[in-house]
């Protein structure tokens, strides 16, 4: 077993922000990564029976090498277990309870030592519910402290919220998580997380100030058929690109293919011809952000 630290990403946010949905997506689309997902309890996690390879009280082994582990009261025990899993997971995702402060959890995980490296704190915020939560005197300070510890905030449920609520949520995220990157689509956040490059979260302090990660997203629609494989490979070779997805008309015959790219890995699969060509590229803003596309 190698001694490289296990990368860990903390996923926080209040009840209803979509953490469980995200975890389910992650487990369904691990893209070949061996993920270990730590949840407080298995309560709301509907894992399809055919995915389960083995199960005991607090660990579910899934097809494809992912595991899901409930830590209940004992996060440190669960982390120890992650370190001893064989084969070792590629990435640990830690879902916090709805009232937990992710910054405090990051501090606690940091005590685990050099064996685990906190890559970043992702906080999910419910676009529909956030304005009311911030008006709730019992909850507001907890939500604010959660947002304040985020490196990346994902505004979820934008499809369910009124424009007023979405705007109010955006405003409040800007106010309380002003240094964090904001994304407004949970699918994207999923893939940022999977890229294992969420941020360079180097702090170990409680509620420490967030660290910049700058991610930009753009949509590219080539004017005609392209060599999809060559394009995908060039994106994969570009360090700044963490995620790309969408559909391309493949040269020379113009059939539509779906591109899924996470980090250095990509797949191209036949797509429904009715879909519109175009790919979304998400990249880190670095000194030279230009890409091949």
């Amino acid at each position: 077993m190698s001694d490289a630290p296990l990368p860990l990403t903390i996923i926080g946010g209040y009840l209803g922000a979509g953490k469980t949905t995200l975890i389910n997506q992650i487990l369904r689309h691990s893209n070949g990564q061996r993920l270990a997902v730590l949840v407080n309890d298995f309560g709301a996690l509907p894992i399809d029976a055919d995915l389960i390879e083995a199960q005991d009280d607090d660990l579910i082994a899934l097809a494809g090498g992912c595991v899901c582990c409930s830590y209940g009261d004992d996060l440190m025990l669960a982390l120890t277990r992650m370190r001893t899993l064989d084969p070792k997971p590629d990435h640990v995702l830690l879902e916090t309870s709805g009232v937990a402060l992710p910054g405090k959890i990051a501090g606690a995980v940091s005590l685990f030592g050099t064996g685990i490296h906190v890559l970043g704190v992702v906080v999910l915020a419910d676009a529909d519910g956030l304005p009311a939560q911030l008006q709730d005197s019992y909850l507001a300070d907890t939500i604010i402290r959660q947002l304040g510890s985020a490196d990346l905030v994902s505004l979820t449920k934008t499809d369910l919220a009124t424009p007023e609520r979405i705007n109010s949520s955006r405003f409040n995220i800007g106010r309380h998580a002003h240094d964090a990157a904001l994304v407004e689509n949970s699918n994207d956040i999923l893939h940022h997380v999977l890229s294992a490059e969420t941020s360079r979260h180097s702090t170990t302090a409680f509620d420490a100030g967030p660290h910049h990660i700058e991610l930009t997203s753009r949509t590219v629609t080539p004017p005609g058929p392209v060599d999809a494989h060559a394009l995908a490979q060039s994106l994969a070779d570009t360090d700044a690109v963490v995620r790309a997805k969408g559909h391309l008309l493949n040269a020379p015959d113009g059939t539509l293919v779906t591109l899924q790219l996470v980090g250095k890995r990509f797949t191209l699969t036949p797509a429904d011809p009715a879909l519109k060509p175009g790919i979304v590229i998400i990249e880190k803003r670095t000194g030279n952000a230009s890409t091949a596309a």
Partner: protein, 545 residues
């Protein structure tokens, strides 16, 4: 077979017949209390005069303690106050840091295995001018075996270098508010808060599940009950996995085990839906000495750990507000579902904001699932004000106040955590009584020693460890105190029809006392000597356990 005990005096706690000289029992049940003449009509009997010079009370009921107290006695006690071990050895308090260190050194010398950890408990540096223990002092005792001392509050631990090393914490670059660093940039060995303590505590010999209790610990706990006159005790935050339930059933099922245990299933680490399912499955496994099927919710943290949720004006020293240990929606689900299903719930609320959240949630839950006799209980409820007690009364809630805490840490609350005014009204038993809120008082053993008579003294006198009377208006009377540690606590557990008073039809559970609490009075109640107990008609002498 009928047995009649004679006694110097029987305090029945039954207002219809407050005093008696004899009590008749059959099959573990009280036939009646009164004079011998009044009881003879039940039929042929054996007269047992072993308590002829003793005073009987109903077996005392501790409504908030933890079996963990029994488990801790296999570790070294280094508390400031003298404390009676389960075996009856009065361990002298450690009055200064040197005494702590020399007691540890003596315990170390007795260990044969060179790698065995040395766990100790109940350190309280506030009694020696907050002098901190550091790693070097513990290293002087041993550099080869891990040493850990749990503070009395349960919120801080001091460990030696070996313990830090085993936990991977003897390194530079640690940046965590719960891990103070020395001049050398390495941790001093003081660990603050559960997050920080848990990775180290297993290496120093504490159980991973701090609240769990093994078989030996349970037997020790039983001995402590006999010494304290307790016949019914809670285990207020148990996880109750199958193995633990099997152990509880085995031990309490032994006729030699001297107490009835009421374990409450702790909400944490399990989804609200699974919690309800688990408790429903536990309830039918109850016996007359093991009462399962209740829920304990921890709503916030502790006041001295600054993790309790306070309303304005917040902490006296300006510390940020504490933490929620449950989401309000989950609290609402558990309260509503439990009301609808008839499951009893106790909620730990230390701060007044936590108390208010339970009040508000309960009000809504009762509208959805009306219930006239739920007896949901606020545990600790230390900072509630009078308006909250009025709401508590309206909603049919009970409270179990932490009278002992007020004695041990009242000065600290006065000076540091909540300031004078709220420190004076903390654990407001007087207000509870005036507002007609059913109340009990508790030790939260092992945080403070199990001993309801002492707890009653604390609630009547409200004297802090420094001798200050803190909250004159919240003192209660002797009658109220004796009620609180018998029927009052039994009521919060819905067991008042069964235990808590000596009257016909109830269980023959008694505290057997050498002194008469009514003579000992307000000042002297804590010095009442306990001979032992009777459980279901069977005597247990403290001298023999």
């Amino acid at each position: 077979m009928i047995k009649i005990f004679s006694a110097r005096k029987i305090l029945t706690m039954n207002p219809q017949k407050p005093h008696a000289t004899h009590v008749a029992i059959r099959d573990g049940i009280i036939l009646g209390a009164g004079s011998l003449e009044e009881l003879e009509g039940w039929g042929k009997y054996d007269l047992d005069t072993q308590f002829a010079d003793k005073v009987l009370m109903p077996g005392l009921v501790e409504g908030h303690c933890h079996l963990q107290e029994g488990a801790l006695w296999s570790h070294t006690y280094v508390g400031f106050f003298d404390r009676m071990s389960p075996e009856g050895d009065m361990q002298a308090g450690c009055k200064n840091l040197d005494a702590v260190l020399s007691k540890l050194a003596a315990a170390e010398a007795r260990l044969e295995d060179p790698d065995a950890p040395l766990p100790a408990w109940s350190l309280d540096p506030i009694y020696f001018d907050n002098q901190r223990v550091d790693r070097a002092q513990l290293d002087a005792i041993s550099t080869t075996r891990p040493i850990g001392i749990m503070h009395a509050s349960g919120h801080i631990m001091n460990v030696n270098s070996k313990a830090l090393e085993l936990a991977g914490l003897l390194r530079h670059g640690i940046n965590h508010e719960g891990v103070p660093l020395g001049d050398d940039g390495l941790p001093t060995g003081e660990l603050k808060g559960p997050d920080v303590m848990s990775p180290v505590s297993i290496h120093v010999g504490f159980d991973r599940d701090m609240l769990s209790c093994d078989e030996q610990g349970m037997w020790r706990f039983g001995k402590l009950c006999v010494r304290a006159g307790v016949t019914t005790a809670t285990d207020l935050a148990a996880r109750l996995p199958d193995e633990a339930v099997a152990t509880l059933r085995k031990v309490t099922g032994n006729t030699a085990f001297p107490a009835r245990i009421v374990p409450l299933r702790f909400h944490h680490g399990v989804s609200p839906e699974d919690l309800i399912k688990h408790v429903e499955a536990l309830a039918p496994q109850s016996t007359d000495k093991l009462r399962l099927g209740r829920i304990k919710i921890v709503v916030d943290g502790s006041i001295q750990g600054f993790s309790a949720r306070l309303r304005a004006p917040g902490y006296y020293n300006g510390a940020p507000n504490g933490l929620w240990y449950i989401a309000p929606e989950h609290l609402a689900y558990i309260l509503e579902t439990s009301l609808a299903k008839g499951i009893q719930v106790h909620c730990h609320t230390n701060g007044d904001e936590a108390t208010q959240l339970v009040i508000d949630t309960m009000r809504k839950a009762l509208r959805k699932a009306p219930s006239s006799d739920h007896r949901f209980t606020l545990q600790h409820c230390q900072l509630a004000d009078t308006a909250q007690f009025r709401q508590i009364k309206e909603l049919g809630l009970c409270v179990n106040l932490f009278a002992n805490h007020h004695h041990y840490w009242g000065d600290q609350h006065y000076d540091l955590t909540v300031g004078p005014e709220r420190a004076e009204r903390m654990n407001a038993a007087g207000t509870a009584a005036r507002q007609g809120v059913p109340f009990a008082i508790h030790s939260d053993a092992p945080i403070t020693p199990l001993g309801p008579l002492f707890t009653g003294w604390c609630a009547m006198n409200r004297k802090t460890a420094s001798g200050r009377t803190l909250g004159e208006a919240e003192k209660i009377t002797l009658d109220q105190a004796l009620h609180a540690i018998t029927l009052g606590a039994a009521y919060t557990l819905n067991l008042d029809g069964e235990v808590g008073s000596i009257e016909t039809g109830k269980r023959a559970d008694f505290a057997v006392l050498e002194d008469d609490p009514e003579e000992m009075g307000v000042e002297g109640l804590k010095d009442t000597r306990v001979w032992g107990t009777v459980l279901g008609g069977t005597p247990f002498a403290a001298a023999d356990v």
